[in-house]
Structure formats: C-alpha cells, structure tokens
Subunit: 263 residues, 2 copies
C-alpha cells in the first residue's frame, strides 16, 4: 500500500476566512482530521470526507496524551491516508509542532507544513494598529507567559529591548506581569488585551501598563487572549470610534461561506 | 456618491496559496489594487476587474512617495471604489502600515485589515522546524536589522533573551551581526538563512552562528531573506533529507490554480 502523508495545518485565530487557500485545500482532500484545542470546530465543514478526531485538552475531556496523537497520525499515514493535523494560530509558534515533526520524521512519514495567522497579528488587526512602527520600535517579541517549568520569562530583560511585546497565555498573571514591566517601561506605555482575537467572539480593551489589568478584569476578559504592550500599540485608542470597521467574519447572507469559496 | 473603502491586504510571502480566503475575496471585489514591493505580481490574476497601480520601490523605478500613495487611496475611496492596498508578508509587521492607517483614519476613510503570513513563519515551514520549542526557548523576536536612523538593534540585548531570533532585512550585514551575536550566544548556536521564503524561488542554507554567513554567501543567498538563530532552529539539519516534502506552490497540472480555488 502506498504511504500516506501528514499535513500540519495552521488554522489561524478562529475566523475560517483567515485560513490560507492552501489550508482549505488540504482540508478538502483530508481523509482524517485531528483537531487541536482552540480550533474553531466549524472547520470540519471544510473537510466533508474526513473522519474527525478531537484531541483537544478542553471541554471537560482529559488531555489526549501527545504520544497517542503521534501514533494515531503514523497509523493512518501508513494506511495510505491523508492525515490533516490542525492546530490553532500558526503551528510553528507555541504549538509544540517541533515534537510532532520530530516523531513523524523519525517514523519516515512525509509531512507538509501549512502556515497560518498567529493570534497576535489578528489582535493587532482588531485594534487597527501595526505591531511595529518605525518611529517607535525595531521589532516585536512573541512570548508565552506559561513556561514548562512554571517559571516566568525575565520580563525586565524583555522590557529593556524597547520592542512591542505580544504576550500569549498571560491572562492568569496579567496584574503581576504588567507591574513588573512597569518597573522598566513607563506606566503610561500603551497596552491592550484582545480575547478571542480574529474570531466572531473577539473582545478588546485598551489602556496602559498601569491600567490594562484592571480594565481587562472589569470587562470580564479572560483566556484565551493576547496582551500587547508598547508605543506602537498606542494608536489603537485614537481609532476606537471606527472599531466597527475592523470587522471579522463573513457575510453569510451573501452566500459567501468558506465552503462556497473553495467549491 | 457613497464612500468607498480601503482594504489593507497582507499578501504573505509570495506563494499565492498562502493568501487567506479573506484576502482572495477582497481582491476579487477590488476596483483598484495598489501593489507594494516584493508582492508576487501574479496576485493581480485574483483581481480581474481591478485597475492595478504598482507603487513599489524596486525594479529600477524611483520610490513612489508615501504621501502620494496615501492620497491615491483616499481619492479612489472618495469616488465610492473598493481600494485594495497589498503589502507583502503581514502588513502589520515592518510594513509601515501604521502611517497609512493613520492617514486614512484622519481622512475619514473606512479601512479593513486582512492579516497574512509573515516571511519568518514561511521560512520556518520551509526548514521544517518550529520557531519555538518548549525545551529551548520561551518565544521569538522578530527584528529588522535596517533601522530608520541607520543604526543597528542592540544585538547583545536581544541575544541575552535566549529567544529565537528572526531577523528581517539583515543580509547586507549578516557577517557582522552573526559575529556580534556569537559574543553572547555560543558560536555553535543553530542558524539558517531562507531567501524568498514561501515562494517558488525559495532557497535555504543551514549552519551555525559561526558558519552561516559564509555558507549563505557561498550559496549566493541575498535579499530578501530571513535569518533565523536559536536552538529551536537546530532541528532543521536533521530533516534535510526530506526537504523535498516541504514543498511550496501548487500543482498546476491538476488545475488547482488559485483562480480555480475561488471561482
């Protein structure tokens, strides 16, 4: 039997319209789809022929062990099937893709990687700001506040770079990390929280390092969310009146569903 | 006359298959398309009804002044047209989008932002590696080596973070910046160069901080390219045998052109 393959598809932040054409095509030809946490479950409508296996860690289920997921992919690929492994955002950023790629390569399984939109980009789009501004900073740092050994990144070192910070998985410690950053950066440094960035559930709060933790809490914003900090983010506030123009989603009334788009 | 609008579309790294569904749809309904530098010119096939204006700075032309571009967008939007402004990668990263957004907002023009795949993500996909690995680092820094005032980022501070570095626009000074980084990081820290990442012209070199500048030069790699540095990148070498599996582009013989996909 001919060997199948695995396509590692990055699903982006939620809105199915933010999938790439390549991702949509991979799903359309999938025999088996393995769905990760935080992926919009409606994505399965793009894979009409596929057996769908949910391997997420939320929704009251126990975590699916990583080794089991890797064995599943290998088993189906060996049967000659096209396995599409779907991860939220871009799988190559905080997605533990390295471990799965290593396991598949060791097993001799062909893997193709399809990029996607990581949440911080969608958060900036929702706020209507650029992540960088040539007047303000020379780059952006994508950092997870949730480290494997339960320690924290060295916020002081990161703040000292002067770059925009895009903090993933930081909502459980937003007050303390903002306070730590404010010891290096000015407390009036612009900051924002975007929950469910790039999905129809998107919610935003804008403020400063000194105010954002309280503002986000008052607005009831929690995980999953991106915390953005830096002068480049400061232009968000002035655009707040036209927030409605930064819409997400698509117009179902016009028949423009993703299914139609790739039909 | 009804006011038109501007859609700021991120074209991704080159392969038209890496456009989002949303970007393809915006192009399909465009009346006017303004094309930036480094965008795959074939993207105009997705905007069959549009007047196309090239505002790039390459190809022997003089730079189109930024103020002129901004006035063009406003003029067409005021005529009730749908203007699609196309930038390479994700427009919100090193794209000077902040300036254009501010000008459009000041003029009262509605703007929608569509995210795209930034080159460093495509570079990692081409190498078959993750930008982060939970054993190796807590994040990634996207930094431009080309600053407005012709100074350089503080490479020592960036190296000290221990994060993966994704360096944009660094090829003209790759030898000196790698030498500076090697004063803080070990010279055997994995490094890679990916030119034209995420396009059919993609070319790669992998090595270490100590070797990558010479290897890239020997291979004739130049701009535009991404330089990746960090332990997470180290897994690229071991996958080199299966590079062919990380293909880009699409199978034209199968009739799977982007045009067909959104027809």
């Amino acid at each position: 039997m001919a060997m199948g393959k695995v396509t590692l598809v990055s699903a982006g932040p939620g809105d199915l319209e933010l999938l790439t054409l390549k991702a949509a095509r991979a799903l359309a030809s999938a025999d088996v789809v393995l769905l990760d946490d935080l992926v919009n479950p409606e994505i399965v409508t793009l894979a009409p022929q596929a057996r769908v296996i949910r391997v997420g860690k939320r929704g009251g289920c126990r975590s699916t062990p990583q080794a089991f997921i890797e064995r599943l992919m290998q088993r189906y690929a060996r049967r000659g099937l096209h396995v599409v492994r779907v991860k939220g955002g871009d799988a190559l950023l905080f997605g533990r893709a390295g471990e799965e790629l290593a396991a598949l390569h060791s097993a001799g399984v062909t893997v193709e990687i399809v990029n996607g939109i990581s949440s911080a980009f969608a958060a900036a789009a929702g706020l209507g700001v650029s992540l960088t501004h040539r007047d303000h900073c020379q780059g952006v740092i994508f950092v997870t506040a949730h480290l494997r050994d339960h320690s924290e990144p060295d916020w002081t070192v990161l703040a000292a770079t002067g770059m925009t910070l895009a903090i993933y998985m930081g909502m459980s410690r937003i007050a303390s990390l903002c306070a730590t950053l404010a010891a290096t950066l000015a407390s009036d440094t612009p900051a924002a929280v975007v929950q469910w960035a790039g999905s129809t559930k998107e919610r935003r709060a804008t403020g400063t390092l000194g105010t954002i933790a309280a503002l986000a809490q008052a607005a009831g914003l929690g995980s999953p969310a991106i915390i953005l900090v830096g002068k480049a983010i400061g232009e968000a506030a002035s655009f707040s009146l036209s927030h409605a123009s930064f819409g997400v989603g698509y117009d179902e009334d016009a028949g423009q569903t993703p299914q139609r788009l790739i039909a």
